[in-house]
């Protein structure tokens, strides 16, 4: 009876490509996984301890819809300190249930039926479904390996129509590890202004860059007023399970996002907000330490893939490597499935992040070097066996 009562829009959304894979891997007991999209570190203890303390003090009530005022202020201080971004904590920030909620309410606050949203791919999995659910039309923009998966002005031009409302920018990138430096951003900012687009800039990996400092597109001239920055605590502070993030942007859009958030969510879990306050206030050193560890693993992985003979550009952000497996003449999905069954190593097929991810696999290096070594050894044997 329920089957024919369901939303056709929701039903029409294809299932996540990751889900399918997840079920097989979970069945397999001794598989080594490089499939995880979250840090391997526990949340630093001083942050957890503040969460515990807030519970002891009985901080168990709703907070203001936008989030604790101290937290909003501290996040704005943090953004200024680290990225030279200036936002007013009283009206230009919303604390959200992870970057995930930020993306959802930003799209819902922006889109009218039929509005098109450019989604550069391969990308994190939620942008297209959330656009559809908000009544918009996602338009994939395939990125190219030869550009190290950076977005170019020409690629935007080729997909803009008079219905295009917004573009999602997600650098450092999950799954490719690509970044956009200031020069790259300046090049696209010009077309974005020319076509009067809004930017939803998902900067959740901003803290995890290697050898270069992250630049936000909002810091370029004429961009702040048309940009919503989405970020959060999940990746930088190893706080995925706390489900807390934030969005900053011009007052008009933050107001509307806050209205949606107020009806849909009320407020973000209070315990998480107190923990996040400690993170934003005293967590810079933790970030630096974790980032240093990722960097060592990153070098190790890139070198290992190149030794295997797989093409692999040097990723400068996030914690993923995105090597090409084209020389094995397998599809990404075949490769990932066979690798799992023959060598018990789980990686994610590039196609889980958009069709243009075909020919690539995503390998996370949010694992100890010891773990990575075993995985890479097994992958080496696999690639050798399957390279014609």
């Amino acid at each position: 009876m329920m089957e024919d009562k369901l939303s056709r829009v929701a039903q029409g959304i294809p299932p996540s490509g990751i889900r399918k894979f997840f079920d097989i891997v979970t069945e397999m007991k001794d598989a080594i996984s490089l499939g995880v999209g979250e840090p391997d570190f526990d949340t630093p203890w001083h942050i957890r301890e503040e969460g515990i303390y807030s519970l002891e003090k009985g901080k168990t009530y709703y907070t203001s819809n936008s989030g604790l005022i101290e937290l909003r202020e501290e996040v704005c201080n943090y953004l200024d300190r680290r990225f030279d971004l200036k936002y007013n904590y009283k009206e230009e920030i919303l604390i959200t249930v992870g970057g995930s909620e930020g993306i959802d309410v930003a799209l819902r606050a922006l889109l009218n039926p039929g509005d098109e949203v450019l989604v550069p791919e391969p990308s994190f999995v939620c942008y297209k479904p959330m656009t559809t659910l908000a009544g918009g039309v996602p338009v994939p923009v395939p990125l190219q390996a030869k550009n190290e998966f950076r977005l170019t002005a020409e690629e935007i031009e080729a997909h803009v129509t008079d219905k295009t409302k917004a573009i999602i920018l997600a650098f450092p990138s999950n799954p490719t590890g690509a970044i956009m430096d200031k020069g790259n951003l300046e090049a696209i900012a010009e077309v974005i202004r020319k076509h009067d687009l809004v930017v939803i800039s998902d900067e959740i990996y901003a803290e995890l860059t290697y050898g270069v400092k992250h630049v936000s597109i909002a810091s370029l001239p004429g961009m702040r007023e048309r940009t919503i920055i989405i970020s959060g605590f999940s990746k930088a502070y190893a706080m995925t399970g706390w489900r807390i993030g934030y969005a900053v942007g011009p007052k008009a859009v933050i107001d509307l996002m806050t209205k949606i958030h107020q009806f849909a969510i009320m407020s973000v879990p209070t315990t998480s907000q107190y923990a996040a306050l400690e993170a934003a206030r005293n967590g810079d050193k933790d970030i630096q330490e974790m980032c240093g560890a990722y960097n060592q693993r990153r070098r190790f992985m890139v070198d290992s893939f190149r030794k295997m003979g797989l093409d692999c550009f040097e990723p400068l952000g996030a914690f993923y490597v995105f090597p090409s497996i084209q020389k094995t003449r397998m599809t990404s999905e075949e490769f990932a499935t066979k690798l799992l069954f023959e060598q018990k190593v789980a990686v994610v097929p590039g196609t889980a992040f958009g069709e243009c991810g075909e020919g690539f696999i995503r390998c996370s290096y949010a694992y100890s070097i010891e773990n990575l070594k075993i995985a890479v050894e097994r992958m080496g044997a696999f690639v050798k066996k399957h390279t014609p």
């Binding site: 891997v25 996984s33 499939g35 995880v36 999209g37 939620c126 070098r299 190790f300 789980a346």
Partner: protein
Amino acid sequence: MREQILKAIELNGKRTVEDLALMLGNPESEIAAEISEMEKERIICGYHTLINWDKTGVEKVTALIEVKVTPQRGQGFDKIAERIYNFKEVKAVYLMSGGFDLTVIIEGATMKEVALFVAQKLAPLESVLSTATHFVLKKYKDFGVVLDEPVKDERMAVTP
């Protein structure tokens, strides 16, 4: 580069030069040279193994002893510290600020053995004024490592 090498091996003395070269992005030859130089300079003083003896059948007790001494003219505390640290039972000696002068960490097979050492070797030393012995009942964390913590990855195997 030295600091990076040291940080990378501080909690894992088994890392190979090859791995370090990959992790730090420097050639193997440079890393190997730095390490042997640091060994010579006694910056790197050894590559020990952290053992949780409680989990073996081997009997071991550890005691922390607060020692008050009279410093000697011209030599301060160094001479008396040397007299103490040369005993092979002594695992560590630190000069302290505060209510006493030296912390001496002693390991022995039994409490009696440790007590005898203090009574017969340590306390009678000429410059030792007094000792207070505290036995370790349980080690929770040593050298930055929680001893009984199981290594377990609780993350789901594949996530976006």
